[in-house]
Symmetry: D2
Subunit: 340 residues, 4 copies
């Protein structure tokens, strides 16, 4: 490690998320610096590395991860490149913060699990950032405290102002609802055992070829029912809400009522335009928690198992979406490394 324990981070992938993480580690995070950036596009890598003091630009992840000033890896490349990057990090026994998805499917996720088990200790934290959102952490604490009794239902809303032109129907599950999958598993500490996708008529502004919105139902192994409204193109803003219905009360997060304005015959306030605004604090806290753990020599947060479970539930979800049927989730046995 560098002087005063500053963690040297290699950021793999310098697209929107990667570039934002470079800025975050450079400007916001305590105890870390961007030692290297990696992108197959050499020009882009150099452009991102340029303004960062002491940051090298690479096109080859293997070269970057072998550099002595690299203590940890943040993987923000496309999902299809994650498996290779993770295995390379394992070769150097480097801790990794891997943007979701861990890998694009359950089979490849299982290979990552196996490789990590061969190391004998956790090296991967998966980027499910909602676990660091102040409101969601308060909800988790309330549920854990047990004051409201056991949760019975979880109502979720996930509304997105719009989606890019390449968006496809399975991406509703794999890119969006995957957050509610992890959120459900984390809040309830139960695996999801089945998924059903219900479809209303699509709205007139639904992206071509996509049934938008949809209502996704999870059943958990403990018998909790979860309904998720996923609305990819709701137009009015980005809004994520969750209400836990427990035996003795309910708790709701995500109304996000900050400044209240009276104007032109209406009271109210602004809705966040997108996830980078809504979850800015969560992203910051997520990376800080990872850096803090790395500097203590550990890895915490959502594990590769959580990444695998999300992939497995996503596979069931996409099949449920395509068939209209209830699809049971088949999970591998949970390895000892991921018991807690």
């Amino acid at each position: 490690m560098a002087q005063h324990g500053t963690l040297g981070v290699a950021v793999v992938g310098t697209g929107r998320m990667g570039a934002d993480h470079v800025r975050r580690i450079d400007r916001v995070i305590s105890g870390a610096r961007v030692a290297a950036v990696v992108d197959v596009d050499a020009e882009r890598a150099r452009a991102v590395a340029g303004p960062v003091e002491g940051c090298a630009a690479y096109t080859d992840p293997a070269a970057a991860l072998a550099a002595p000033e690299v203590d940890a890896v943040l993987v923000a490349s496309p999902g299809s490149a994650h498996e290779a990057a993770l295995l390379e990090a394992f070769r150097h026994d480097l801790p990794v913060l891997c943007e979701k998805p861990l890998t694009p499917d359950a089979a490849s996720a299982l290979r990552v699990l196996e490789a990590e088990q061969r190391l004998g200790h956790r090296r991967v934290q998966v980027g499910f950032m909602r676990r660091w959102d102040p409101e969601f952490t308060r909800l988790k604490a309330l549920l854990d405290g047990g004051e409201l009794g056991r949760p019975l239902l979880l109502h979720c809303r996930h509304r997105n102002a719009s989606v890019p032109s390449f968006f496809t129907e399975p991406m509703l599950i794999n890119d969006s609802v995957v957050h509610e999958m992890d959120q459900t598993r984390w809040l309830l500490e139960q695996e999801i055992s089945a998924v059903t996708v219900l479809r209303p008529r699509p709205g007139r502004d639904a992206p071509p070829g996509i049934g938008d919105p949809q209502l996704v139902i999870f059943e958990t192994e403990g018998g909790v029912l979860v309904d998720v409204e996923i609305f990819a193109r709701c137009r009015f803003g980005y809004q994520v809400q969750a209400e836990a219905v427990c035996e003795r009360g309910t708790a709701r997060v995500g109304d996000a009522h900050g400044m209240l304005v009276n104007r032109d015959g209406r009271w109210g306030g602004e809705i966040a335009p997108d996830f980078t605004v809504r979850f800015a604090t969560a992203f910051d806290r997520q990376v800080q928690a990872w850096v803090d753990a790395c500097r203590r020599g550990t890895v915490t947060g959502p594990s590769a198992w959580d990444g695998y479970a999300a992939a497995a539930v996503c596979e069931a979800g996409v099949r449920a979406q395509a068939t209209g049927e209830r699809v049971a989730v088949e999970l591998a046995a949970r390895p000892a490394l991921y018991q807690d």
Copy 2:
């Protein structure tokens, strides 16, 4: 009619609802008076009639409805007695406000429809009082105005502090969710075409033998999906909420945030204890609207057709609840009298 057009109302049934309607017509409603009360329990009828000026007590509905000072009938007896009371009112061509349910099943409801058709004009308004709740009427106006585009989803919550000891699982549908059935049909102006009932694990305080809460899904003929959380014994209070998700925005009613108190480390306010408090204004407006229409010689509001449709959807809902299957709703053809 009495002097100055005061409507003489016979209230049939003097249980909790009936007695409350007697008080309402006597003290709150303009242009009407309680001319007669009817109850098989003569003592009870006399006790309710006593404090009301000019009010006679009957044990026989037929005798009460034949009395010359009776201009209209409010039926608040048990559901099993509704058919007979309605037919008796039809014999005298009296307008009726019939507490829900119209009748306890679709077959008897159809007989009422046929009898009303033989009269050739509407005589029945069914007591779905939510149609007069100030927040729900605002939601209806917003949806009708079309500013948010077409509705696609409707999320409903129906939470009850507790239920009496004789409560049974079908009553979750017939007594509680029936309100969301009518609300859905009224807000969307679409029939419900199928019902599914999903069950989480029951809470520890669930009434014996009842899976509480449940999540009821309606599909409408126009393709809107409706999810209803029905929670019969949530303990914390009575709460009814609805959020319409439309193509360009959403609208939610029922948060009911009146006075805001800061105290003992918490901000917030009171939840209504029960439906009589939450819907007090709706009940008053419903009866006033009925009285006003009666005095103009008409009947408006939810019709016998709405009562029949609710009964048919309830039958499907109870079957869905018992079987765990999606159950399609089979409705009779809508008679000309109930087209609008």
Copy 3:
């Protein structure tokens, strides 16, 4: 009284408020009917009386109040005509609901007090309708219950979308802040002992010649401080709020958050356009309470003393407004009739 105890009401004055009260008594209120309307403009009186069954039109209040079918009087004429109307009602010992102000100044109000005392019993209820607003009554109950300890401060907001062209600066006090004067006296059960008016720079849309908004400070005899923002032309809507700051907590009413809409990047809802919308329920309940009391042979609600006290505080307020000084309120001794 008429058959079945229906109260025959004479409505004196058929301007905006008077006409609205005619509609209310005719359509909303239980147990009363409009027996007579009075207006110096005969045509207007006839136009208002026309649609109401059994309602006579008068130009002379004395003639109307002498009519046998008149059991009670609602005074909604201009304030300058109130004293004469009240004294005429006293001649017939008729109960009166007198729109605020009781009379335009403290001296004439004292004459009314004296006349009523000569009758030996209360005959006047003054139209401070906020005392019947559901939120304000809840606040009153909370303060009376004592759970929050004694009130120490009261923060009030009174915002009006716009004002008519004849509006003058003293009307800020006499027409608008007079409501907070009565509200303060009612909520706290203390007299107001001094008034100060503070002025910020006027807004660019302030009515010509009027310092708008203003901040009015009341001190009560019990040492509570009350600040009132009066904003006659805030443009965005009509909004009345109050927050009581007590020893162990605070309570706020008037946020009036009914239906919540997400749309166009904003969450929120509508603000009432004017007082008839915001206080519709309060007006209805006020008149119903008066009618109910009249039918029981009594008068309740804000008394002539409350009308006099408001007039005295208004006089101090207008002087404070004109001088920029703190002005002490001098009240006559409270007659025995108005002790409770």
Copy 4:
């Protein structure tokens, strides 16, 4: 500067605020480290320095500030020690983040201003952390944008659960209301020209010898009126609110409604227990902004002039509090260094 531009900070004073800043710089802030801590209590200094890698403990500020690894100074000692610490920092031309107050009175603050002017450039940022609170920055942006027109009134609430036993009445102004003084000057970009303090009866739980709560009125040079409720021992929690009343609308911050819970007959949520919780994000952002500016070689944020102006308004406020009179604020001419 240290490797990779890490800013070495000396924290002077290791009481509650100082120790919290040490934790913050060590764990939260990017680009800085705690190089030294200073406390007259040597044992306490060592205890705080111990867990921080590479942090030296001093009892003499002069020695600490002369250390080569110290690039900047955070002053968190008692206010009476600020002047000496600031002058010592100026001797080394070190940038300073000085907790409020700059100094305890206007005369000493003026001496600091003069010393900084002799340096010829700004070296001081004063710790008015509200300027970094997310809600207040949104309010500032809204006012600056001009969409609501010019501000006319500002209503402020400052409620504290309780105060320590050594709390005195002037501390209501100097320690608490000083935040509203800076907030007013910052939001409105106007100096405060006069202060008045109004007193209701004290609550039963008021700290001995202290009139609590109080209502403090500011007038600004631009004619805006500001009312501040300061309540030192409101018991229910820590709550800071502000509502700007502008020509075409109002905006309110501080309702702070995060997670909404339904339970035991009430809806609502938690109130922050104290300022460290309520303003945690603001403190973090404040220090990060200071560190970022230091590393760029500049100083931004509230200046020594802002510290002086606050001291001058506080002096007027304490006099107003003692006399019950309106007290005009006399400010020195604003030196060129502090024009912007």
